[in-house]
Amino acid sequence: MARIDSPEALEALREEIASRRNPETPCVSICAGAGCIASGAAEVIAAFEAEIEKQGLQADVDTRETGCPGFCERGPVVVIYPEQICYLQVKPEDVPEIVSQTLKEKKVVDRLVYADPTTGKKAVLESEIPFYKNQRRNLIGSNIRIDPKRIDDYLAIGGYAALAKVLFRMGPEQVLAEVKRSGLRGRGGGGFSTGRKWEESRRAPGDTKYVIVNADEGDPGAFMDRALLEGNPHSILEGLMIGAYAVGANEGFIYVRQEYPIAVENVTVAIGQAKEYGLLGKNILGSGFDFTIRVHRGAGAFVCGESSALMTALEGKAGEPRPKYIHTAVKGVWDRPSVLNNVETWANVPLIIDKGADWFSRFGTETSKGTKIFSLVGKINNTGLVEVPMGISLRDIIYGIGGGIPGGRRFKAVQTGGPSGGCLPESLLDLEVGFDELTRAGSMMGSGGMIVMDEETCMVDVARYFLDFLVDESCGKCVPCREGMRQMLKILTRITRGKGKEEDLALLEELSEVAADASLCALGKSAPNPLLSTLRYFRDEYEAHIRQKKCPALSCKALIAYHIDPDKCRACMICLKKCPAEAIDGGKNRIHVIDQARCTKCGTCLEVCPSRFGAVGKISGIPVPPPPSEEARTLVGKGKKA
């Protein structure tokens, strides 16, 4: 790979790459993102390579392993170019048929295309699938088109043109102005104006400055940064360099969570390939601008997603946050001006430069510009990554794109913003998604995690779950967070175990106030949010737990009992045999009864009871009905009671 030493050479290379690629040549793009790999994509890729060779088509068909396009529920995902036919849930056994039918004979394999779950209506092309159609996939739409380990793919779709524009046709102040004008706000959680943060660093005294990619993505349930970093690492490198140029930095860090080995590998390969082309290192594209990047792996601490803790970790120390009275944009890593931004924020930068701040600000609302990628997970039909313009309603995301709640169950709440966020109830489904709107409602945007909950989710347990998470992840330095949350968790655990007291709610609110007001960092300050939002919208559930020792969602183990309805039980013995605690008494034609003393509430019996009987249920807040008498337990004939 020869060094590209000028913007003209870059464009010439781009043309040369395009000329080598025939857009009519069939190409099989298979998602090799973490989710699809876990669903067996590696075997599918191998099957394609084997079958293509077997049918002698190596010269005529390309294959491409790509990053995540977002439709994780239906993975492994395969898109056939040039038609853009999309096949879902592809298995290795399907591959020979796809190769013969679609690649050779240009016929669609009907059973593998998208079908609407209710109407059965099919969508053959990727662009027709409602899940994708209702999104605005400015960022993630590129993933299926490129192999993250081939820089030429990125160049082929216009990559690094923005960098060339910035280095040769824009001064740093101009870049700052453009990014400010776009209205881009941080996509990691804080929602701070990106342009203003860059400007603060630019104005800060000091010769050595840093730009940092926060790829720690600690919010459980959020994996959009992973998809971007794994699937299109060059877009982040390009954004980072543009920011570095604007700020006056020549060194960058990418802090990646070590739980994302594929992302670490792909970004390392990307850096290596960019270096070979001279797009990283000294005198980039002949502009005189130098830039180097170091990849730093996280070691397993949620708090390191907090910007000052991350910078402390970059210095090789335990990730304890620092007070932010002096912004890290002024004094960050090694006390030098440091601009830290989230992966998705950086990914937006090349687009803003390429297409302009005006284009970017057409999407979204007055105060929240652009698109946002949400990870839509939990009790939702179409689990995956969705990219939508800010301002869309929660309802449109959850129902229009997400396909609603599985199993015909009822929506109960959606949790946004990770452990710093809150739960929003059904009454707020028409809320327009935006930074300030979510904050006003008692939650926050956070990194974009969107966890859907249904009637089986206990909101008290959700609050306890998040506190448990934060207690584990707190750095422990300051009293309000360490001690405050310690006590809050104790109280909430007691409540979920049926030992709640009337005064508990007031004490929880008091502890929340101290944590929110006096904690050292944002982890502690926002820690009470899940609790406060669930108290605000679901107070009745707390009261039921405390006063009636009842869990309305039938979830808290200590407050529920599994019970076999003697009117429905047909003594089929399935639950009896599967019960890992051997807690079910019964036999052939003898109605089964659960021994509550031995029952561990694992839920297996409920899981395995045939749906035509539906005899196993959960009860809460009332005593378990006594078992029927021996005679009443005997089934006579084909399932009829005596």
Binding site: A38, D219, P220, Q258, E315, G319, G384
Partner: protein
């Protein structure tokens, strides 16, 4: 792990205080735990006090100061998996292996850890053994998965 190997790792990452975490991550990856002698060597060469190294080795979840089992079980307890029943899955794994998160069984067969999100939320609840992901796990299917590991 001998000092030569540790020195190689240190030199590769740059013998400076800032590389501490990266060096320890690599020792952990190769050796599956951080022996005391390794920490002392790192302290000596990087000129970093042992208190800082011990703080880091206990602060971050990736490190283990005791040997781990042959097979590492990770149960995802991220929010999406939690909502889909990860707690029950974890209980089942604990019952089957006899150990709790952070522990290793006496025969050094399994080490159990909870993880906060593997990014495979569509497959929740998720169980990962030796890096292999098992999705849509139910408590009843767990024994089936674990019995394949010696």
């Amino acid at each position: 792990m001998d000092n030569e190997r540790i020195d190689q790792i240190i030199d590769r990452h740059g013998c400076e205080a800032g590389s501490l975490i990266q060096v320890l991550l690599e020792i952990q990856r190769e050796h599956h735990w951080l022996p005391g002698e390794a920490l002392e060597r790192v302290s000596e060469r990087l000129q970093v006090p042992l208190t800082r190294i011990r703080h880091i080795a206990t602060f971050y979840k990736a490190f283990s100061l005791v040997p781990k089992g042959r097979h590492e079980i990770h149960v995802c307890v991220g929010t999406a998996c939690h909502v889909r029943g990860a707690a029950r899955l974890l209980d089942t794994v604990q019952d089957l292996t006899g150990i709790r998160p952070g522990e290793t069984d006496p025969e050094l067969k399994f080490s159990l850890e909870t993880v906060n999100c593997l990014g495979c939320c569509a497959l929740g609840p998720v169980l990962e053994v030796d890096g292999k992901t098992h999705g849509k796990m139910s408590p009843s299917g767990t024994a089936e998965v674990l019995k394949h590991y010696e």
